[in-house]
């Protein structure tokens, strides 16, 4: 009998504590559909801006754009960064690599790494590789992006 009472008390205590835990994890109400939609729209706007810049010759001086070598962001391999880049001579982030491309093949002026333009270019590249497994350090392979059937390749 005594044992049974202990067990009941234990179960009760567990139930109370799990309630408290659940409550504290839901300290904020869940995001509404509308919130999520707005947040996603903000992201897609940035991706779109990146897409435009990616295809624009204004980043360089010789008429080339990122899209000359990277249609649909192909071979930009954002999921393999950071990695040691021989041409940069150190472990580089995607942003550093983008700046290398602007400076060398495009013969342009590098962007500040925290600029809106840089964030947009990065967003476009990453979005075109959505669903890819992270492989930091992978220097062995060039990866094609998601297969695009129509449109810009994002919603």
């Amino acid at each position: 009998m005594k044992n049974k009472r202990y067990i009941l008390t234990g179960v009760f205590a567990l139930a109370i504590s799990s309630l408290i835990f659940v409550n504290s994890s839901l300290g904020k109400p869940p995001l509404s559909e509308e919130d999520l939609k707005l947040m996603n729209e903000e992201l897609i706007n940035l991706v779109k801006k990146g897409d435009e810049l990616w295809h624009s010759e204004k980043l360089g001086t010789n008429g080339l754009s990122c899209a000359n070598c990277h249609p649909d962001a192909a071979n930009s391999n954002p999921h393999t960064f950071p990695k040691f880049q021989e041409n940069v001579g150190k472990v580089a982030t995607l942003r550093e690599m983008i700046n290398w491309c602007i400076q060398i093949p495009l013969e342009g002026k590098t962007l500040p790494e925290d600029s809106e333009e840089m964030k947009a270019l990065e967003a476009y590249s990453i979005y075109m590789y959505r669903g890819f497994k992270l492989k930091p350090g992978d220097n062995q392979k060039a990866y094609p992006p998601v297969e695009v059937k129509e449109g810009a390749g994002y919603p």
Binding site: N62, A67, D72, A142, K149, E150
Partner: protein, 339 residues
């Protein structure tokens, strides 16, 4: 067993390997074939070389990096010994179809003529959509043609004709050009050669016997590779159907800026390198994944690019060698790919 010239003679005399002897001294002997090519049973080809250059994408700016790579290809061809019988330029001489770009390109290509090497040319979309081919035709004449050389029938087609995507949208000629200058153009649709050229092709090959060796050039591939980037020709099926009566057809295309190979029925297809920049491989499976190029160093303007030479032997076996300036071509393809 080391095969010397002498015991090769002996071998062929005793075994009566006439077909083998016929090409015994061609560069094709000893080639490790990554994909088996077929000779013609009876052929009257007189062996020769030709070169293919393309996708120069010249910009208007002087001393542009793409001027240098096209100039290098042309001067390499001029230095070739034996001299190639002719050169085919396989489209996209200009980047935005501007007169200045096309004139610059013609001036560089005319160095071939001055060196006694004639050239034929077909257009790419970058040559075409500023004025719908008007100035290109003034400079180079008909965008589709055929000729016979040493027993081989050569055909060139204009494969980049799309349906009007600009009028309804009220696009200016410049906007039309900029749209299609993007490989992943969202509004341009699929291109092809169109009805007129299909009818012309039917007529062109009508009286040729099935054992005629055929080589066909188009800017885009005559098989469905990756339509998203127009790595296709809309009416390729109709073209392949017209050419299906021939024992063997070699199809060479540009546009893809990469090493790529395929076979369909009686045809062998191969992509040419650009002199401008390499395109990545698209997100689809390659039919011959062993025939690919290495990754290029984007810091080296001579990497990832090049041109091709092709030797045609007396049995209509072809040997295409990619001419590179950096370490682009994998070791087992360096001696060429048999066609």
């Amino acid at each position: 067993m080391k095969i010397s010239r002498r015991n090769l003679f002996k071998l062929s005399a005793t075994a009566g390997l006439t077909a083998f002897t016929a090409s015994a001294f061609s560069p094709l002997v000893g080639l490790v074939n990554v994909a088996q090519a077929n000779p013609l049973k009876s052929s009257k080809v007189k062996p020769f070389n030709f070169a293919v250059i393309g996708d120069a994408h010249l910009y208007e700016a002087p001393n542009h990096r793409f001027d240098k790579t096209l100039e290098r290809a042309v001067s390499d061809v001029v230095k070739m010994r034996p001299k190639p019988d002719f050169v085919v330029f396989i489209g996209d001489l200009a980047n935005f179809g501007k007169k200045e770009e096309l004139l610059k390109g013609k001036k560089i290509l005319d160095r071939l003529k001055k060196a006694g090497i004639p050239y034929k040319i077909i257009p790419g979309e970058h040559d075409w959509y500023l004025d719908l081919g008007k100035f290109w035709k003034e400079l180079f004449g008909s965008p589709y043609w055929s000729f016979n050389h040493n027993g081989v029938h050569f055909i060139g087609l204009n494969s980049i004709l799309v349906e009007d995507y600009w009028t309804a949208k009220g696009m200016t000629p410049w906007e039309r050009m900029l749209a299609i200058a993007e490989l992943e153009c969202h509004v341009c649709g699929l291109w092809g050669v169109g009805e007129k050229q299909i009818r012309w092709l039917e007529k062109d090959v009508k009286n040729l016997s099935p054992d005629t060796p055929i080589v066909i050039f188009t800017h885009s591939p005559l098989w469905n590779y990756y339509p998203r980037w127009n790595f296709q020709t809309k009416d390729a099926d109709a073209i392949r159907q017209i050419l299906s009566k021939f024992e063997k057809v070699i199809a060479i295309h540009g546009h893809v800026h990469q090493v790529v190979y395929n076979r369909t029925d009686n045809m062998v297809h191969i992509g040419n390198l650009a002199t401008s920049w390499p395109w990545p491989y698209p997100p689809v499976e390659l039919p011959y994944p062993q025939i690919v190029m290495n990754r290029a160093d984007p810091g080296d303007i001579y990497d990832g690019v090049g041109f091709a030479t092709t030797y045609i032997d007396d049995t209509f076996l072809g040997l295409l060698k990619y001419k590179e300036w950096a370490d682009l071509i994998p070791k087992d393809l360096k001696n060429g790919i048999s066609l």
